[in-house]
Symmetry: C2
Subunit: 236 residues, 2 copies
């Protein structure tokens, strides 16, 4: 099982994802939010690229969620903070979600043989699901505006360590995968501090979302894995 | 002092390097070879992009060096193995060098306020030189064919740790810089093994250059720093 890591959405070539399992990561905050929503009873999240698409797709019972520049979109029910995706509001309601980087990465990975959503919150479960599918894996770090993000890289490192443990042998991976496993080994015991010190963590803290960074820095809190099925993300 | 790390030559934007100190890294093998050549009495290395340019620039006393696909170029005196850049052959002879990734990165960084050459072999000296220049720093990992290379990333991590030590405080850096410092912390005590396991290390080993990988994995062996001056690399 080859497991490669891609540093940003833009370096993802859609035609290379065919036949593979793709894990999309946007720890701060899109994929952490999607995991949280499904965990709390949301039946499906529909990721779309634009605000217009979100409004077109919306059914009467749906909630609209998302952000631009880390802020809630005018007229939407929810922003991109996982703290908003909790009961009772979220239970039983489908969410149409658009964010700057994460939902774009998911759209780009649609052609994958199997598309899973990863975050620190569900990393172990996500690795188990990917392992069970028995295909080569591509881990796509969403990044921010074409720049590599530390939090996504560290989550990739954790996923690779988990996959390696499940496989019982060193994992064939690309150099970025090797680097992320090494970085994970150093950071794992001070994850909250590390996430607060990276670019997204600092930006979110400045905007009053420090609690979100702390929340998203938790590992393996949930055993749930969102999977792409009929244009939506549902439980694996 | 802001110190950012760029993952590959292609992601280097020449116009962002003005006024800055740029450190180009191609551990396997171009920058390790350049450091080794100057250490052994070569007065200057002229990096060029193409084989044709190398032949045009060549003066009667010059040596031509370089590689394509890790192999010596037909008609050239030297390949790209640092073991060839040793006395007595190299002393007093200028070298015109062309390699697939490293010399391209150097060409692209020509407009920098100050352009230095880094490798594991001279990392501490290189960090000292960069620190003394008192400009913001951009560390350019050459990579291989647009792909991030672990050995360059780890060298960047070491440079950042050294710069941070010299500055006496945590270094403002981008997320890739943070990740490379974390990866360096894990890998530093098993560097030879790590370099032998990355893509370039495995490829070079397969081609019979295992000794080069082991040689290039040595840290701080030389106190010399190549610097760009009048279209050549000379001692800082």
């Amino acid at each position: 099982m080859q497991v490669d890591v891609i540093p940003t959405v833009n370096e993802t070539r859609a035609d290379e994802l065919n036949q593979k399992t793709v894990i999309v990561i946007d720890v701060l905050r899109a994929t952490s939010t999607i995991v949280t929503a499904l965990q709390h009873g949301c039946p499906a999240v529909v990721p779309v690229e634009t605000v217009q698409q979100a409004k077109q797709i919306q059914q009467p019972e749906d909630l609209l969620g998302g952000e631009r520049y880390c802020k809630k979109i005018a007229g939407f029910h929810l922003g991109n903070s996982p703290s908003e995706y909790t009961p009772p509001g979220i239970a039983g309601r489908r969410v149409v979600l658009t964010t700057t980087n994460g939902t774009r990465a998911i759209q780009k990975a649609q052609r994958a043989g199997c598309l899973l959503i990863g975050s620190l919150l569900n990393a172990e479960a996500c690795a188990r699901a990917a392992f069970s599918v028995k295909r080569d894996v591509v881990v796509v770090c969403s990044g921010t505006q074409d720049e590599f993000c530390l939090e996504d890289g560290l989550c990739a490192g954790l996923l690779l360590r988990e996959l390696s443990r499940l496989d019982g042998q060193p994992l064939p991976t690309n150099d970025l995968g090797l680097a992320m496993m090494l970085a994970w080994d150093t950071a794992k015991d001070r994850l909250e501090e590390t996430l607060l010190s990276c670019a997204s963590g600092k930006r979110l803290t400045k905007l009053g979302h420090r609690d979100d960074v702390v929340y998203c820095a938790q590992t393996n809190r949930f055993a749930l894995v969102p999977v792409w099925k009929e244009q939506s993300l549902v439980r694996f």
